[in-house]
Structure formats: structure tokens, C-alpha cells
Symmetry: C2
Subunit: 474 residues, 2 copies
Amino acid sequence: MNAPTATAHLLPEIALREVPAAFVDELKARFGDRCSTALVVREQHGRDESSFTAPPPSAVVFAESTADVADAVTLCAQHRVPVIPFGVGSSLEGHLLAVQGGISIDLSRMSRIVSLNAEDLTVTVQAGVTRKQLNEEIKSSGLFFPIDPGADATLGGMSATRASGTNAVRYGTMRENVLALEVVAADGRIIRTGTRAKKSSAGYDLTRLMVGSEGTLGVITEVTLRLYPLPEAISAATCSFPSIADAVQCVIQTIQLGVPIARCELIDDNTVRMVNAHSKLGLREEHMLLMEFHGSPASVQEQAATVQEIATDCGGQAFEWATTPEARTRLWTARHNAYFAAIQSRPGCRAISTDTCVPISRLADCLLDSVAEANASGLPYFLVGHVGDGNFHFGYLLDPNIAAERETAEELNHKLVNRALALGGTCTGEHGVGLHKMGFLVDEAGVGAVDMMRTIKHALDPHNIMNPGKIFAW
Amino acid sequence: MNAPTATAHLLPEIALREVPAAFVDELKARFGDRCSTALVVREQHGRDESSFTAPPPSAVVFAESTADVADAVTLCAQHRVPVIPFGVGSSLEGHLLAVQGGISIDLSRMSRIVSLNAEDLTVTVQAGVTRKQLNEEIKSSGLFFPIDPGADATLGGMSATRASGTNAVRYGTMRENVLALEVVAADGRIIRTGTRAKKSSAGYDLTRLMVGSEGTLGVITEVTLRLYPLPEAISAATCSFPSIADAVQCVIQTIQLGVPIARCELIDDNTVRMVNAHSKLGLREEHMLLMEFHGSPASVQEQAATVQEIATDCGGQAFEWATTPEARTRLWTARHNAYFAAIQSRPGCRAISTDTCVPISRLADCLLDSVAEANASGLPYFLVGHVGDGNFHFGYLLDPNIAAERETAEELNHKLVNRALALGGTCTGEHGVGLHKMGFLVDEAGVGAVDMMRTIKHALDPHNIMNPGKIFAW
């Protein structure tokens, strides 16, 4: 790790590149009314769930096939126009903002399951399929796709940001669950990055290079995913703890014992209050772990008994089961709505979300000091965490009209990231670098590694048209 | 998949590059007696377990630190001299051959466990640590590293080839189990590709780019790995089947049911005979599955009962348990020695090993047609498979003095690879491309994807000094 840069939390300047009128004409000639320059459409595609703003893209192309994407990218390459892939707009890090101008390619109409291979536990989908749609469409096969970042994101977008979420502690992230991709490269060529074989040593791992590249190396058009048999038995439980430290201790021991827990989420007391108010729940307003166990009935029982014992040793109280599907759904919906519950708790606010992830043995160190700092700052916040993975999110709730609040939030985030890096962690467990963490990436990876990334980018996208201005400076 | 190339099985021509005398002098000045030009040392480093030959490297440097590697690579970069990293020499694909001349860097003296973080289930090792050494040294922590390619390979070498082996069906491959690397890049710079955090979305996945890059993008000097708690209970079993098709059917059903089987290996009757002769065992000389179950005592019992039932349904007979550690070790040692048992069965022979991997639903199709072809050819062979992953190896046992036999073996391999690719599989599940599969890689990945790999190679290694002539033509 290098010394933290002073500029880590500053956004890059907006530097719009020229979008020639002839280019827009060609785009319209090719795509007709599937190319829109209406302001409302452009504005809708020029923002995301981050707190940043930039002028909207010059046009939006609604792609319906890989050939559409390839044609659009080829035109952009000819005219040196930036391309930003768009799914449902759920990025938290400014990935979708046209900070250098250009066009947005909306992939949401590419929403077809291309092929389900239930016998092989794999499925190939177009990039615009969302995770909920996928699970709905494959339900009758007895299989499911576990990766669940909360938002009903597209699988293309989830691949591009290396997303994960509440099930990752057991099933891994998009890194582990994308088998292969179809990608439109910066010159418009269509490539496939792998096969349906479960493992391969055939050359460079282009799949994993594209997963997490945030649209900067190509546009993902198809995704081949691993699926899992729906667990025979599922049990969910909540348990309250007198302190965050006790809850974290319970998680650490659970993971270290090798219990294959499927979900293990922390919500602090303050956030439980917000969730109760928003979702009309009666959860005990204390620090809480939400857990889920998957497996055969016997194995679920065994896991649950082990964790209940650990929780009791750690001061856990009021272990409560949610065994019916309805009760479980209510619980996880409430968890996923924590973000909106928090936003609602302070009308007009925006959230700046942190995303550090540390080795689990350092989780308490990292978390507790940051809680103390956040409390001392006086800024309202929510706190949720995929703590089984060492990943957690503070959401600082700031009034966008009060500059000092943004400054405070950025300072808190900055201190938290520095702490996580010093503990052997990462500045982003699952949201990506986007605009906001470019400085932090250098702190984390070092100049040499970022130079290596940049060298790859320059080689694969020599005109810097693929989602430029994200991850690192050109 | 593209049309198969006619040249798929031909080796590239040897094209030695100049190694200036001044360079060797500088190397000796820097490394003293840790730089050897003795013919016996060079010859030992100029071959591997493949059946190929090339002139030995001009010198061998015995590195004892990352700084040693960086200095050697820096000198090579200055003089445009090829660099080939060397662990224990267990490559099966010609990775270690100096087909363009240059020097070998022997990393076997970099054999230190850098740090064990038992609480986080991670360990960082120097690249020359072998997998058996690692498991020996961490035994008292209650943890183990499961990836087991048979040979006692170095963890640097295993990373470089994206190795896997018998435990991959449950624990994944090096792709899933390398958390981070330290790498000396082609310009001599030392970079780290990740942190100890379990997951991250921080920029391009340089770790996964380096894993499987076969020394062509940099020299791996340190590896951070995931570890697992030693299972509370382990049971191994063998089961005989009247036909390969029946055995494969048993495997397919086991995987599709989601049984977390830890090992699931096929050995055909012919190979069982070789193993019995070599390892003095009394295994039933029929097609056989070797299986292992890991978990809590209750879970192991549950898994085993499920698989035993499936096996019986599939015509399996003589389900036999190896419950003591000694019996298990004897069984798996015999499995790992199948290669040597086969070699010994035909004195003076060399083996050409296939390595295809297909989606498991296509395993029977792929395997049975290839068995028929191999039998028809008259060439002796062995057949073992990590069938839980859809990966298997024929080893064609040829007399190196009979050109027609090599031709037959290459033809069989060629047909097998074409069949696997047509079924959605890969030409190499775990051995890597090396020299032998360069044509197959193009057939599998397509010209566009291989061009993308080549573009990355050109950008990161502009003078083509990192293990040149492997994976793809420059």
C-alpha cells in the first residue's frame, strides 16, 4: 500500500469530447426510432444511484441484439465517440455518467434467456436479463442463481462491476459464477471469452478480465452463469446482540469453523429502527445478524444449531426463526430496502455509500473505529454489512445543499478506506471503482498495478471510447 | 468455435534468439554461483514431463528472493533475452522448454511460508513452495489447501497453469483459490495483484489474468491462497461399474443432485490393472469410481448414502470403504501414480496426455466415442478422469522411436479435442496450452479472442521475453 493520496475523494473533471453531428445522423439511419436524442431519455440514461451529476449522453441506442451493439460500437470507434453500456441504472459509483460525453447503449431489451442447460447447472442469458427475471424464468428447473446485490440489476451490469451481495459468503461473487461472456470489443468485434466447461486452462482468462472491468474494455452482450440446485431446506434467523463487537465475534467464529452459512448480514440498531419504520416490521431495535442456512434438512439443522451455540456464547439474544417462505421474503425484502428506508428517514438526502472489505479477523477493528468516527461526526448514517465476507456499507445521509456535510461524509469515507487498506483489505468489495474511488484504487493497488491496468486499457481500447474516465485516469 | 486447423497438433519451430555473452557475464556478476551454465544443470531445466525436446537454456539462475527475480528479469529486458520460470519441472505441455533460447529462473529455493493467517483462512507463500510442503507446514493450524494436481508441483507453477486436480469438483481450481499474487513484470517491476480481502471490485482482475498465463506475462514470486478447515470427517470409497457409461451416469446424477462430493475420479479397467501391478493393490479390475466425502460426520454419512444409492441404480457393484487415513492415502497415492504405473507398463514409452473438459451432460458422449477410437487404434493407453468436473485424461503410450505411433496418438488427440469443442468444452481443463495446444486454442477461443490475448501480451511484454513461444504465436 502506498501513502494515501490527498485527492482520493475528488471526482475527475468533466471533459466532454466532441460528438459529430454526422455520427448522430449515421446512428439514426442505422437504428431509426431505437436511437433517441430526446432530453428526457438522455437524462434518464445520464445518471445512476450515485450522488454525482454530469451532462447527459448525446444519444441513447436501444440495442436488441449483439449485432446492434457491434454496429453501434463500430460507429463510435470510427468517430471516436465514447460508449457507455446501460442496464437498469443501479450503479452506486457513477459508472453510467457521461463524464466525457458520448452515447449510452441501453441493453435492457436484450432480455432473453438464450439457453438453459439444467443438466449442467448452467444458463446463458442476454446481458439485459435481470437477476429476478432469471430466477423467475428458471424456477421450474429446480435451479437458482444465488448472486443478489439487492437491486434487481442486469446480469450484464452485475458482471461488469463484479457484483456480489448477501449470498456471496457461500456461493461466491460474479467472479466465481460467470463461466463465459460474449463481448463486443472496442473495435466492434464480437468475441467469446470461454466455453461451458466448468474449468479450463486455455489461455488468458478473458472472462475474469472482463468481469469487473466496468465497461472500459468492451460491452458485455451475453453471460454464461453457473446455477445451483434449489436447496432442499432453507432456514432464516435473526439474532440480536448487545454490541456490534459481539455480533462480529459471532460471525468470525462461524466462518472460521467452516459452517457453510448462506447469508450472514449485520444491521446496526440505528438501521433496524429505519427498517422497522419503512417496512412496518417489529424487529428488536438492537444490533442484529440476519442469517440463512441452505442444505438438506439435516445439514440445515446442524448448521443452525452450531451457529445458535456460537451466538449464545457471544451474548446473542432472542434467536428467532423465519421458517415460512413468506416470513423469509419479508425479512430479506426489509434488508434489501435498508437503503431506501435510510434515505426516507431524512427527506431530500442523498447517500454516500462506503464499500470496504477486510480479512474477517480484522473486521471488528475496522468496523468499530469507523462507527465511533461516524457517531462523533453527527452525520446521520445507516450501517449494513455482508459481514461473513468482511464487507460492510456505511451510508452517510447528507443534505446535498450543505457542502460541509458532503465534506464530512467524504472525510469519514477516506478514513475508513485508509483503515481498511492498512488492515489488508480493499476499498470496494462489490460496487466497483467508477468515478469515486479512482484515487483509492491507486492507494490500494499501487502505481505499478494501476499502470498495468492502464497498459491493458490502452492496448484494447486505443481511442479510449469504452466508458472513459472510469476506474483510472487515461 | 471455428473450423479445426490442420496444424493444431504441430509444434512451433525452434527459433533460438541470441543470448549475448555480455549478458551472461552480467548475470554471473550479479548472482555468482547461483547462476549456472553447467550443461547438466541447463539440461535439467530444459525439459519437463512433456514428450517434447528443445536445446537447453543458456543459463539457470537460482533465485532466493523477489529482488533476485526482479534483477534477473531486468537484465533480460535490457538484453532482450527470454526468461522461463521453473518450479519442479512437472509441466506436461512443454512450458519449460527454451524454444526461443534464453535463461531459466529456478524458483525452488523461494520455499518459505511468508505468512499464515489462520483466522482468515489465508496463507501467503513464496512461489517455490510445493503443495505437499504447504500442507505439511500448516497441519497444526487445522487448515489445508485442497488443490491437488497429482504432482507435488510448486504453488507458483500451479498458479501459472491454472492447475486443479482431484479436489476441484468441490473446492474449485487455482482460479478460485488464488486471492492475490506478487509478480515481477516484463520490465522488472514488482507488482501486487490484490489484497487479502475475500472479494473485491477494485479494478481489473490482474490476479486472474496472471493465473493461467503460463509465465508469458510475468514471473509469479508470491501467492496468497484460500485455505479450508480440515474436514471433521472424511470417507473414501471405490465402486466398480460394468461399463464406463454406467460410471459416468452415476457421476452426472451425483453432481446434478448437488451432492458436495470432494473427489470423484474415474479409472478404466485397463488402468486399474496397471495401477494394481505398479502399486501392489488388489483393486477389482473393472471400471471404477474413486470418491471422497468431506464434512461433519452426519453430512458425510448423508452424502455417502445418497451416492451409494445412485451408484446402485447405475449398476455399481462392490461399494468399498476406505475409512482409515492409511487406507485412504494408499488409494489416492495409487490414483496419483496411475501415470507412472502406465509408463512402467510399457518400458521406454512416453505418454501424450489429453486434457479435454466438457459440460458434464456431454461427458458420456465425449468419453465413449474416444474410448472406441483409442481401442480401434491399437495404441496402448491409460484413462483417468476428474469426471465430476467433466475433465479426463487419456495417456497414449507411444514408443518415441516409432514415428507412426506419435502420429496415431496425435490423431486420436485431435479427434478428441474436436469432439470436446463441438460439445461446448475446452481443449485443456488443467494442464495449460503450452506448446502443444496452440492450434487447439484458436479452434476453441476463435481468432478474435486469441487476438485479444495477443494484444495484451504485446502491451505487457513488448519485447516478447516472458516465456515466448507458448500459448499463441507472437
